[in-house]
Symmetry: C2
Subunit: 344 residues, 2 copies
């Protein structure tokens, strides 16, 4: 199918004006007579003229679009973060292009390449769990493409980063379990390389330490697919429940990990919180109608998206190279419901 839009040239021809006059009239240049301006504007309106953004981009070497790379949009944290991103981008006149890495390093490199080959002005990225090498991003970044990391970040690239305060969120959740009488707390988390996994694990360890509970690495299980794969979570649970000393609670670190763990616990016939208490990082909007109502660590996903986008746009629009970078950590929220509170 063909789509033949009106160009500035068409307007010029119809009105007997040069393209430059039309162009100037359209952008309200002061050097054009009010009369001509009116003529052009009215005609443009009439035929519903829209400037070709592609031609503009070619000129300005700007696209007014930013690329987002996340592992999965079917994840409450990310869909909410994207909403935050969109809310800012939209107001600032930027389009948003969303791509999913599906936790694959290969896919991430392809996407980055695809997006970055100058079709976006900047990148908002949350790393895939398979990514251990950052050269695909580093190269681009060093060439001058603005990048802001959010949620899953890396210390190897020096730029703005926006995260939840994962350490504190994990610490609070773990300590909450301890204070509620749970003694042996398992930790199900995402891939071990991920910044979020590391930060949350540290928070977990710190809470144990503070409360004089010995850290046992057998209680920590990593799920490389971040809970997207049911079996991997069930496996992890089985390993924990096979241990001699009985695990009486679980701290899960990730949106899909938390909900999938709930499913697995149900399938394994574990009563919550009697057999096992649970609290986890998740941004589900329906935790209260789970069985039992689920205690959660909620991340400020929307705000994380907003802040990251503001930082990115400031980089994009900065005249001079940005050299001062910050890592913002936004506070999480602990929402206690029945799953983490012993009944007796």
């Amino acid at each position: 199918m063909k789509f033949e839009p009106v160009t500035i040239k068409d307007i010029g021809k119809a009105l007997g004006l040069s393209t430059s006059t039309v162009s100037r009239a359209l952008r309200g240049s002061y050097e054009i007579s009010a009369e001509t301006k009116k003529l052009v504007l009215e005609y443009a309106e009439k035929i519903n003229y829209r400037p070709n953004p592609i031609a503009l981009s070619l000129k300005e070497r700007r696209n007014h679009s930013i690329g987002i790379i996340v592992c999965e949009i079917a994840n409450n944290f990310f869909s909410q973060a994207i909403n935050g991103i969109e809310s800012i981008a939209y107001n600032r006149g930027y389009h948003v292009i969303i791509s999913q890495s599906h936790e694959s390093y290969e896919r991430e490199t392809v996407i980055v390449d695809h997006l970055a080959s100058r079709s976006v002005d900047g990148l908002l990225v949350s790393l895939s769990s398979g990514t251990k090498d950052y050269t695909h991003l580093k190269q681009l970044y060093e060439k001058g493409l603005p990048i802001v990391f959010f949620d899953r970040i890396t210390s190897e690239i020096n730029t703005h980063k926006v995260i939840a305060d994962n350490f504190k969120g994990a610490f609070d959740a773990t300590e909450h379990l301890i204070k509620n009488g749970f003694k042996r707390i398992g930790h199900i988390t995402s891939a071990p390389y991920l910044s979020i996994s590391i930060e949350r694990l540290e928070g977990y360890k710190e809470a144990l330490k503070k409360n004089n509970i010995e850290y046992d690495e057998k209680l920590v299980q990593f799920c490389d697919n971040g809970g997207m794969n049911y079996d991997e979570v069930e496996e992890a649970l089985k390993k924990i429940f096979k241990l001699k000393t009985k695990t009486d609670a679980l701290f899960t670190a990730g949106d899909r990990i938390t909900t999938t763990t709930m499913q697995a616990l149900q399938k394994l016939n574990k009563k919550i919180p009697d057999d096992v208490g649970i609290i986890g990082f998740t941004n589900t909007m329906v935790g209260e109608i789970f069985s039992p109502p689920l205690s959660v660590v909620r991340q400020p996903a929307f705000e994380i998206g907003q802040v990251a986008t503001e930082l990115l746009i400031s980089m994009i629009e900065s005249k001079r190279p940005v050299t001062e970078f910050e890592t913002k950590a936004l506070q999480t929220e602990l929402i206690v419901r029945e799953s983490s509170v012993k009944k007796s």
Copy 2:
């Protein structure tokens, strides 16, 4: 920040060749000597040359990108549909630009305008609940921009459409409730103008009729925000529960409506399924861990996205105007759990 990418001209200069030679070598034209070709390719590889897609688009008047307009991505149906869309688009070399109308007609028109002003090759749209007028889309469509509707469609524009078999899904769900001994079934649905609302309402009515239950329009409540707004759902429920004859079951028609209804029922202290049975359209992945496990009508969201995308790309790539259109209705799946089955 500035991002100075390598152009074909740079390569030409470095190698002492004309831009056209470089261009041809790059795309492997047969008329270029193997030697030159090799030279160019190797150099391009070395300096990591990437063609500027914007310049390409300007030439080809094609973007290789398709726009998606949905009301909300934080909705299981849509995030899954987008996954389907992406899976096809990605393989066919198309980018995907996602925008959210947030159920607002104004926002939808702005987005459509924005996207369609030639920055996308085609549009995949699911209408907002506020949309009763379709001229913004119709105009574009008549100018030749390929559009495929999915999920929320309109009969006013004659193009490809892909939906779930909403009538049958609603019919089956309602009849399932009836067969399980529920007598007076309320129906909570989205905005009344939406095609999905109409189709599902028809299925509901038909099931009542077949089972000799009189249709009572007071039992049907429309939620214009599609369940995004908690209060609107709670209001709807209160209205139904205030009726003299007791409502003993609910058929909810929409992803967010269903989950929000569950939340409201809990808050209103209604026991499910004893006080009120419930089954609803939703693509939640965690229905089984709800309290009680939720019976659902599941839509083939991923497949709907895939099929719609295939149809759209076929329109985009078709040499001659497409005149034969089809409306595909994919089957839903009824998943019965405890919420719709009386215990006694």
